[in-house]
Amino acid sequence: MNLESLVHVCLAGLSTGMFIWLVASGLTLIFGVLGVLNFAHGSFYMLGAYCAFTALKLMGGNFWLGLLVGPLVVCAVGFVIERFFLRHVYGLELPYQLLLTFAFVLLFDNLVKIIWGAGSIGSPSVPGLSGSVNILGRFFPVYNLFIIVVGPLVALGLWALIEKTWYGRIIRAASTEREMAAAIGVRVPALFTGVFVFGTWLGAVGGALAVPYIGLLTPGMGEAIIIEAFVVAVIGGLGSLKGAFLGALVIGLLSSFGTRFLPAFDMFLTFILMAAVLLWRPQGFFGKAV
């Protein structure tokens, strides 16, 4: 093993982790505030990718414009789901919520196939971020460096939003004492819709950003990521953004180093980690004690 390998495995792990973080952040936010474990979050990721792709095609191939517009379309989908479906199951038990969001997974997987076709679609390159840079004699894509920067920025932004702003304070209040927040004047249903749509947006942006990284769009691309995002959200502590960020880093680096240095590495290790964390600290790294 040499230094260049170590650095590159590290970089690979960081970029993987930041991707999972982008998806897990929305999942965690929605769980933390609304208390809903949203299976369909992977679908938002997939829809984000496809919508950004279409927006890009319609608007002359500008990646950034696609990134801007695509996820907004997905937000409309998120709005409809929250407003007309999820809202009616908040009071119900966990299985009903899971089943409802699971139904949307099936629905969107199939809709994507109908709208965009069953085959995979190659991704466009990103102007300005398409090359690779030489780091210690080995090449690393600029785009991945960009993601490694974007991830922490998103984390910082979310932290500032929750901890430092007026809306953050309302969100913190409403996430713990829903009724009392309503009784002091918070429009809780509207707030929840807003948070859900925002979480949807985060997932969709994750998807839009993932396309140049994975290199193609496929129907069903959300299913692999949702399990990883679940794992990250769980080991970080369900509902804790700080924990999800750390969890994503751990999972990213674990899979990167595991793949490189433990030939038998598999998701087996990931799930052992998840089980161990649950047994040792069910509240995860940063979750509140249960």
Binding site: T176, M180, A182, P189
Partner: protein
């Protein structure tokens, strides 16, 4: 008339909790809803606040029909509510708990951080403490303070005296008088008739979801038959 409730019926899931409940509160009055646990006192307050909408009947607040309005509408219209379990926001500091109520209500007036801390000095000491770390007594004061911060026209208090040592109940009575003197109307649900006698003018007795008796508190206090039959004393 500050609040007029007429013939409301409220359900929780399939149970018919409130059956044709009517009561009214004049501006500046302190009125008590009396009765044992589970007779519908809390649900009455929740119905007024909009947390559990009545299926029918009328609720008029400052001469506006408000039955079925969302709680946030009630809050902005000048109604404040302190639940029996207080529901202090655990992730917010004492100060933030107060401030958020003031800002959300959008109402200015006599009550502000300083005046509330004057009334409950302990809240000043705990200003930066997270809600989750407060003791039971501190939470109760914060709950009252938070209701005041909205500068409401009327406050609904659920079980204000519950769990307080007899000594502290004395203090609470004084606080409620002070609040009333600042022009706020109060409706409280309580089981402690002794306490109610000190602060309330009138009272309604509930039993099995119905109002079974209404009179001045003084009259109720003297009516042993009513107390024996309906009140847990």
């Amino acid at each position: 008339m500050m609040l007029q409730v007429e013939g409301i019926n409220t359900y929780y899931r399939k149970s018919h909790i409130l059956q044709d409940v009517s009561f009214s509160v004049e501006a500046g009055e302190v009125v008590a809803l009396l009765g044992r646990n589970g007779v519908g006192k809390t649900t009455s307050l929740r119905s007024v606040m909009g947390l559990t909408a009545p299926r029918n009947g009328s609720i008029r607040f400052q001469d506006r029909e408000v039955a079925g309005q969302a709680p946030y509408v009630m809050a902005k219209a000048g109604m404040a509510y302190m639940p029996d379990d207080l529901k202090i926001f655990p992730d917010l500091t004492c100060e933030e708990n107060l401030e958020i109520a003031r800002r959300l209500s959008g109402r200015d007036g006599y009550w502000n951080q300083g005046r509330v801390e004057e009334l409950f000095p302990v809240l000043g000491d705990r200003r930066k403490q997270l809600g989750i770390l407060l003791s039971g007594g501190e939470k109760k004061m914060l709950g009252m303070g938070r209701a005041l911060m909205a500068n409401p026209d009327m406050i609904l208090l659920d079980e204000p005296s519950e769990g307080l040592a007899p000594l502290v109940v004395d203090h609470l009575a004084a606080v409620i008088e002070a609040i009333r003197d600042k022009g706020i109307t109060l409706l409280l649900a309580d089981q402690n008739l002794k306490f109610c006698r000190r602060v309330c003018g009138r009272g309604y007795i509930l039993e099995k979801g119905r109002v079974v008796h209404a009179d001045t508190i003084a009259a109720i206090w003297d009516d042993e038959a009513v107390i024996k039959q309906y009140l847990a004393l």
